[in-house]
């Protein structure tokens, strides 16, 4: 490595990661308002995060939504990826394109469309609408990641199982599934994080009593300038760090991103 390159790299890493260190420190402030350097150190704002009622309820909603939407996306996404890879059905190209449209359409438009044309006219609740929006968003990820794992798995192994007397069902669950398990788990983690961090899709799909954590944080910071958002941001960053490190260790997550 040349010196100039190393300096640039170091500067970029400070730019990318430094702010997280700062926000963690700012969240440990003892003062009344957000400031850096903080006015003394304490855990009062970290404790405060757990006392704010709306943070607690929206955290629960975000977790439930993230797990539920990712599970549904995988439940219908894995068979779709499998069919696209192994059966080459008529119109496969078109279907592939349809399944990836949620990536192209900006999230805010998805949320607004669902609000205007599913929630209001059809009387679907806000929560189910959030669930639909998040699931739609995650299907392309699920299909793409699982397709990747399937392409790496040779078809003849499955054919051999069928020739030896297994049904297609058995061949899938006993031969294919164990081999794409890591891909499915990576898709689950990436899907969950995507949903948990999602703002634009949820923006129009929140109402009184129903909101997600990131949306609630944005609403809170509009009217409060205390260090609690910094403390909460620090906690969320640490949570993501823990999930990613664990996943990297178990699955080699960065191969799937």
């Amino acid at each position: 490595m040349r010196l100039s390159g190393q300096i640039l790299l170091a500067a970029v890493l400070v730019f990318l990661i430094g702010p997280f260190v700062l926000i963690c420190v700012a969240g440990l402030s003892a003062g009344e308002t957000l400031a850096f350097p903080p006015q003394g150190l304490s855990l009062r704002w970290v404790a405060r995060v757990f006392e704010v009622e709306s943070f607690r309820t929206t955290f629960a909603i975000s977790i439930t939504l993230g797990i539920g939407a990712t599970l549904l996306a995988l439940l219908i996404g894995v068979p779709a990826a499998y069919a696209l890879d192994r059966y080459n059905p008529p119109g496969a190209g078109l279907i592939r394109n349809i399944l990836s449209t949620p990536i192209i359409v900006p999230g805010i438009i998805v949320g607004l469309s669902l609000l205007r044309y599913l929630v209001i006219p059809m009387g679907i609740g806000i929560l189910p609408a959030l669930f639909i929006g998040h699931t739609a968003l995650l299907i392309p990820y699920a299909v793409r990641i699982v397709s990747g794992s399937l392409t790496n798995l040779r078809v003849d192994i499955e054919e051999a199982a069928v020739m030896l007397g297994a049904s297609r069902m058995q061949a899938f669950f006993k031969v294919v599934m164990p081999n794409i398990r890591n891909g499915i788990m990576a898709a689950f983690i990436i899907g969950f994080i995507t949903s948990f961090n999602q703002v634009p899709v949820s923006l129009f799909l929140t109402g009184p009593g129903v909101s997600t954590l990131p949306i609630d944080m944005m609403a809170y910071m509009e009217f409060n300038y205390d260090p609690s958002i910094a403390a909460l941001s620090g906690l969320l960053a640490l949570m993501s760090l823990a999930i990613v490190l664990l996943a990297e260790k178990l699955l080699g997550l960065s191969r799937y991103v």
Partner: protein, 277 residues
Amino acid sequence: MFQDRRLGLLLLAPATVFILVGFLLPVVILLSGAFKTDAGWHFQNFTEFFSQSLNREVFWRTFRLGLWVTGVSALVGYGVALTIVDASATQRGRLVAALVLPLMISPVARTYAWVVILGRTGIVNGFLTSTGILDSPARILFTETAVFIGLVQLFFPLMVLPLISALENLPRDVVPAARMLGANWFQVFWKVILPLTREGLVVGGTLVFVGSLTAYVTPAILGGSKVLMLETLLYQRVSVANDFASAAVIAVILILMAVLTNVVLKRIASTGKGGAK
């Protein structure tokens, strides 16, 4: 490849129906609203939208910021990617992980960190006022600069990661060969590295440019109502004025820009391949 096509379609049906009914249909209805008024189908909503100077300003600001963020990310990204590719395999793995990690952290948390840094009582102002360079804190938040910084931090990894994989696929001896034949570093980059890694640049450029155009969190937190971008304008039009016609127009603009970027950059990449031989 299996023969039973009906079974294939059956497996595809749930996901396809879900996307069509729960996603595409509502979106298409919303988009069609941009071309509809009480008088029938036409482009009146668009001309009305662009006749207002605020809307034009927001449109150009979004476009400009997108170009700046993409350009700076590409420039710095090449420097960083070249350095990382030079590193040993273990180091490289760690550095890539350090680039991927921020992508996994909530954009709200990532963006809020800049409030700590750029705010009135933040680090930058603290430094400037305590050293006496400024008498009173400067306004850095709620400026285009703040939004630009936030967007670069948010999207930079999406530029570097494809550049790294493109550079890894670069044949190892082409750079030394060009050097030996007398090319200086600028020529090596411009005539050898750039043409051969064009596809990585296009992938990264598309992700960063489209990401910046359609960003919501960063302009909302760091720009507020003073520095609107298209998405924050859309939100404001709907939540403040119930103006669904403008919202539909913005939606069409955003999707058109995203699709056009994809098409144009892909074309550049494929013509580039012919030219680089």
